[in-house]
Amino acid sequence: MSAETFVDTSFLLRLYDVYQPAKRQAASERWRKEAGDGLPTLSPAILGELYAGLMRPIPRGAERLPPLMPTHAEAARAVEEAARLRVVAVRRETVLEALRLRERHRLGWWDAVHLATACAAGCRRILTEDMPSAPVLEGVTYENPFARA
């Protein structure tokens, strides 16, 4: 079920990544697989990261290339569509659990928050390009659709 898929920002950004066509293609194909079987899960924190990532200039060495979205309106539209997926709350208990997961698995803070959110939402996999040291944490499998892209 798609609801069991937690979507990370690193995956969502690739849907719009004109600078990496192979990854954009891989992201689109994986995204289509999620359609038709409920809606994938994400959190308000992911929505915030998505907007930031869409509007941030792209680094190429010392250069800064145009962001993935040409305007605020386009970025807002993408976030509004993403907000129609299964958005689950980051609750107080989720943050407290993230504190524990951060220590147990040596995760960055936001990685721990997203894992705790995925666990609380009953997700079994995380679609991401940022793989942790182990492919399965707390029973949640990290899947990188770009491993061969």
Binding site: S28, I58, E81
Partner: protein, 79 residues
């Protein structure tokens, strides 16, 4: 049939009444017709909508020299 109370902007209501009258329709008929269209239309799938927007933007941007890049999680949270 059921009765329902709505709050609408006065100006919008005045324009809708004027147009409905010009078309010889009641405001009730107009609202019923709009609601019928709304519930009959297939719900937009956000996944397809995101893909369509991405496709459109890639087309509008035109050819871009490919290269690898990434953001760290911390960069996404920078102020």
């Amino acid at each position: 049939m059921k009765n329902k109370t709505f709050r609408l902007r006065s100006e919008l209501l005045r324009r809708a009444e004027r147009r409905a009258a010009a078309e010889d329709r009641s405001l009730n008929e107009l609202v019923e017709s709009l609601l019928e269209s709304y519930v009959s239309a297939p719900a937009r799938d956000p996944i397809e909508a995101m893909l369509a927007q991405a496709e459109r933007l890639a087309g509008e941007r035109g050819p871009v020299e490919p290269f690898e890049w990434t953001f760290t999680r911390d960069e996404l949270h920078e102020r």
